[in-house]
């Protein structure tokens, strides 16, 4: 327990998994999205890989919103936020801790989404599992960097999940386009551009917003 962001994340995960709702809700919502989307094609017809990838990332985006709302509301119960701010550590540790626990929760949700698109959307071809998992991990990094920064604003007032999604989704567009494009590549529609250049874009996004979050997080969480 030496590393404080890790300790923070461990505490969050213990609380979320003990309660259950914080992880069940995003998983359920994602599964429902995938299932409903399977109705968009006539029975017996194949869903294009790109569409499957799109719905996978859409489900993930909703999970980001729900997960970070839950994570930051944990600090709201008895204003533990103030306790964290008074602790002898940089405020950014809180962002890191939340990003870490958010990443774990997001991956947990995706463990359910992935089979769901295989089952409901009939995707059975996976070009490269390691490549696909690496891609998911990389894009998730960008998602949690932004999610952990802007999720912090949802705490302590009446702003609901919907507000957060309106603000966050458009910011995530570059990442989602990359995810969909690379996803369709890995789901067998190999024509989807060059994954290499998308990879560069994702790395640029991650670097930019990780840096921005480190600079900007204290303003969102530390004051007022």
């Amino acid at each position: 327990m030496k590393c404080r962001p890790l300790a923070l994340a461990a505490k969050d995960l213990r609380l979320v998994f003990a309660d259950g709702a914080g992880i069940i809700q995003p998983v359920l919502l994602g599964l429902i999205l995938v299932f409903v989307f399977s109705l968009s094609t006539p029975v017996g017809e194949e869903v294009p890989a790109q569409a499957a990838a799109a719905i996978f990332w859409l489900a993930t985006s909703f999970a980001v919103i729900l997960v970070f709302n839950t994570l930051y509301s944990l600090e709201g119960a008895n204003q533990a936020r103030i306790g964290l701010l008074l602790s002898p550590m940089p405020v950014q540790y809180i962002w890191m801790g939340k990003a870490l626990s958010g990443l774990v929760l997001l991956l947990t949700a995706q463990i359910f989404f992935l089979p769901a698109i295989i089952v409901f959307l009939g995707q059975d071809l996976m070009v490269s599992w390691p490549g696909a998992l690496g891609t998911i991990l990389l894009i998730d990094w960008g998602l949690v960097a932004v999610g952990s920064l802007l999720g912090a604003m949802s705490q302590g007032h009446s702003a609901r999940d919907s507000l957060l999604s309106v603000v966050v989704f458009p910011l995530l567009v570059p990442l989602l386009l990359a995810g969909i494009s690379m996803g369709s590549f890995f789901l067998g529609e190999g024509t989807g551009g060059e994954p290499g250049s998308w990879l560069g874009l994702v790395l640029a996004f991650n670097a930019l917003f990780t840096g921005a979050a480190l600079v900007l997080f204290p303003f969102i969480y530390g004051e007022y």
């Binding site: 932004v146 920064l149 802007l150 604003m153 007032h157 009446s158 702003a159 507000l163 309106v166 603000v167 989704f169 458009p170 910011l171 567009v173 570059p174 386009l177 990359a178 494009s181 024509t191 989807g192 551009g193 250049s197 998308w198 874009l201 640029a204 996004f205 930019l208 917003f209 921005a212 900007l216 303003f219 969102i220 004051e223 007022y224």
Partner: protein, 232 residues
Amino acid sequence: MKNMQVNANKNSNLSLAGALVLAGGAALALSQYFIWIHAPVEVTMGLVQKIFYLHLPAAWWGMICFFIVFCASIGFLLRRSPAMDQLAASAAEIGLLYSTMALATGSLWARVSWNTWWTWDPRLSTALIMWFIYAGYLVLRQSIDNRRKMRMVAAVLGIMAFLNVPLVFLSARMWRSIHPAVFASEGGGLEPEMLTTVIVCVVSLGLLTAGLLMFRFRQKNIQERVLDLYRH
């Protein structure tokens, strides 16, 4: 004495804003001459091409307004001055208005030129995504009651939104390569008369923008002061 000076200063700001708006209006009226008489009718598209003279200045000044949001947001975080926040809010509103105009005219253009209302043109898509982001920005400003928190969060979002622009543009351009290109890229060569007209339009809309921005900024400033009277 000092107070009077401040007031005089405010009044001169007001008259400057008024002068800018009037000049902008006059210039826009003048630009009609350039649009309809000076510039030739484009061969393939005909009269519809005139949309371009509204589309381009609106898109440019919209982007510049978003850039002002970015700068003012940084200024706010550094100085904590409410004025910076008001400037950011005013610029976001006007920027949103202009990008709405740019999107609507762009869509009309696309319909005539490429026979589709919407196409994944990188510039058009970027404009649409920016429209979403700044619409969200304004909604956010409305929905947080705690003013200090709202300003802080809005400033952070104002910075993130603009940082995102190059990435959005890049990703939109890469995305297009997946789809068959609906059109060949626009020819760069403009007739000299057309170029003059574009410049006239950009400048006149710029004057109007500056005036509007100052008016809106002042309005927000006064609004806040009135609200402060209540809060005491």
